[in-house]
């Protein structure tokens, strides 16, 4: 596994070892994401008041991301959009993780169950992901709920495969055979011998699911399937900005998208670095 972070012993991080650096990076990025979520909740709707006196302003110290056609501050709109993106991502990843655990465990109960799960994974991967989200969101009535359900129901395939492979490998281990020969029940072996090994994988899998969930929600919303135009969302902001492109209002699209990129990158970095901590094989690179 490669790492997102350049690990050279100079510059700001001089004097820390790799483990300390990894922890620091995880700490900083988590703090950043937490700050985004909290501030997006803290800013009430009144901070998005329309003010036609200050519409379509260039970015300035007062409005760092500029203002839109209704005079709303783009910085606050972006912040609120990011907050809702992260929360939708969290919800969708949780649901997908739960599904992955259930299906992964189920696949280890027998041959029929195993091939059924494998078939289900193939079925979900057979349609392009974005199209599948669109289909499911239509099936559940569209709008915010539709897209959230669509994103939540489609991200479990990767993690299910990981859990399934991991269980398969663990089952061939010596100590599991011994445990079985000693007369321990299947349930006992599953909870005491197998599950503890899965926890780090599952944890990591959930975090690495976040970026995908966030990007897919934003994409579906951008295409017009997701949140309604009144709700704050990056997808909405960007699809709105398309109308003003030829007018040269570049800030409407540039900053919100860049912020989304940074949030996604932050999640990737947390995932990669947690992976380094959890998987000792790479710790000494």
């Amino acid at each position: 596994m490669s790492t997102a972070v350049v690990t050279v012993n100079k510059g700001v991080f001089r004097g820390f070892n790799l483990r300390q650096k990894t922890l620091l990076i995880i700490g900083f990025t988590s703090l950043l994401l937490l700050a985004i979520v909290i501030s997006s909740v803290e800013f009430g709707d009144e901070s998005l008041h329309t003010n036609f006196g200050s519409k379509n302003l260039n970015p300035s110290p007062e409005h760092p991301f500029g203002t839109d056609w209704m005079g709303r501050d783009m910085f606050i709109r972006t912040l609120k959009g990011l907050g809702s993106s992260i929360m939708i991502g969290a919800f969708a990843s949780t649901i997908s993780t739960i599904l992955a655990i259930i299906l992964g465990l189920l696949s280890s109960t027998g041959k029929i169950a195993d091939s059924f799960i494998a078939w289900l994974v193939d079925l979900f991967l057979s349609i392009p992901h974005l199209l599948l989200i669109i289909l499911i969101s239509i099936g559940f009535g569209g709008g915010a709920t539709g897209v959230i359900i669509g994103v939540a129901l489609t991200h479990w395939t990767g993690l299910t495969r990981v859990v399934r492979a991991e269980i398969k490998q663990l089952k061939t281990q010596e100590y599991i055979h011994i445990s079985r020969n000693l007369g321990k029940s299947k349930w006992w072996i599953a909870t005491k011998h197998i599950f503890p090994h899965l926890i780090p994988q599952i944890f990591l899998g959930t975090i690495l699911m976040f970026p995908h969930a966030i990007l897919h929600e934003a994409s579906a919303t951008f295409l017009g399937f997701g949140l309604s135009p009144h709700e704050p969302a990056i997808g909405i902001i960007l699809s709105e900005s398309m109308k003003y492109l030829s007018a040269g209002y570049w800030w409407l699209a540039f900053f919100p998208g860049l912020s989304l990129l940074i949030v996604v990158l932050a999640f990737d970095m947390i995932g990669e670095n947690l992976g380094k901590l959890i998987d000792p094989k790479n710790a000494h690179e």
């Binding site: 392009p128 992901h129 974005l130 289909l135 492979a165 951008f222 295409l223 492109l245 996604v264």
Partner: protein
């Protein structure tokens, strides 16, 4: 190695799998749309006020009042004969719409697939050769940033810079407005293809480059490369002779497995550049509840993804049996 029976078995098996998959995909997507709480007539007319009589006519046209089982059987029966119905929004047979749109998308996808594959492979080889240097780090950071970039945002930025600010390319549509299909010159069409293809290519590079880099590093730390070095081979020659041969096949396989993501990216890019491809049709069909068209597109996209996976499988099974062994041992 390549005996005929094995290939025939492989193809037969694939066709059976594709058929079974398509039946389930059709059924599930049909039911998802059928039981959707969205009123298709409302979705089509939008905010326009219509009389009750007019609405009843539209409902008749949409087939709202036919029972779902009957509707599915009717549709499936026709579909078997190759008739996927009439698209409600384009008022043309679905097969014609898809044929026209998919061809346009295929050109776009093929261009970006090839370009991103080649560029990604080269970047990956360079990064792997220069592991740990600033070139490697730059390429890695570039890939990580691209993997996190929202497709539609990059498309918007390119559109803003090259079309609005620099004015090098037209802002949208695949042909100039007011020109009939016969009069579109190759240049017109080509100019409008560049930006969408560029967006998709830039984004597609990330995965393939990182993969190639990892593989090359793995190969370069193998015993046979050590031996080759002991014999005095070095530099680019060594990589060309021992590295690329071993890395190329898995990379090509990975590129074929990426058809699903390529399709998703195309949907977004077409929307931004108003490129009249299948992605744009899918969005329009979804937003305006054009059930026959949406189902047709779902089927075509499923076949497309299946085709990519089947080729990757073919490479696994027949060209390089080692890959399969590695997979099985994991």
């Amino acid at each position: 190695m390549l005996d005929k029976d094995k290939i025939a078995g492989f193809i037969g098996n694939k066709i059976l799998r594709l058929l079974s998959l398509l039946i389930v995909v059709c059924f599930v997507s049909f039911m998802l749309i059928q039981y959707s709480p969205i009123d298709p007539v409302r979705a089509y007319i939008g905010e326009m006020p219509v009389s009750a009589e007019h609405k009843a006519n539209l409902e008749e046209y949409w087939g709202v009042n036919t029972p779902p089982q009957e509707k599915f059987l009717n549709w499936a029966g026709d579909a078997l004969k190759g008739n996927f119905g009439i698209s409600l929004i384009y008022r043309m047979p679905v097969t014609d719409v898809i044929k026209e749109r998919f061809t346009a998308s295929l050109v776009l996808m093929a261009a970006s697939w090839l370009f991103s594959g080649i560029l990604g492979f080269i970047l990956g080889i360079i990064a792997g050769m220069k592991k740990g240097t600033w070139i490697d780090k730059t390429i890695k950071i570039y890939c990580y940033v691209l993997a996190a970039t929202p497709t539609f945002w990059l498309a918007l930025i390119l559109l803003m810079v090259f079309s609005v600010y620099l004015g090098w390319f037209p802002i949208g549509l695949s042909v100039p407005i007011g020109v009939t299909a016969e009069n579109v010159t190759f240049l017109d069409w080509f100019l409008r293809l560049i930006l969408p293809a560029l967006t998709l290519s830039l984004l597609g590079v990330a995965q393939i480059a990182l993969f190639t880099r990892e593989k090359l590093i793995e190969v370069l730390s193998s015993d046979y490369v050590l031996f080759a070095k002991a014999r005095g081979e070095k530099g680019l020659d060594l990589v060309l002779r021992h590295g690329i041969r071993n890395v190329a096949l898995p990379a090509i396989t990975l590129q074929f497995l990426g058809f699903s993501e390529l399709f998703g990216g195309t949907v977004l890019v077409e929307q931004v550049f108003s490129y009249p491809g299948i992605g744009q049709a899918a969005v329009a069909a979804g937003l305006r509840s054009d059930v026959p068209l949406l189902l047709g597109i779902v089927i075509v996209s499923a076949c497309f993804v299946f085709f990519g996976n089947a080729i990757a499988d073919l490479i696994y099974q027949f060209v390089d049996p080692r890959i399969k062994q590695q997979e099985a041992s994991i």
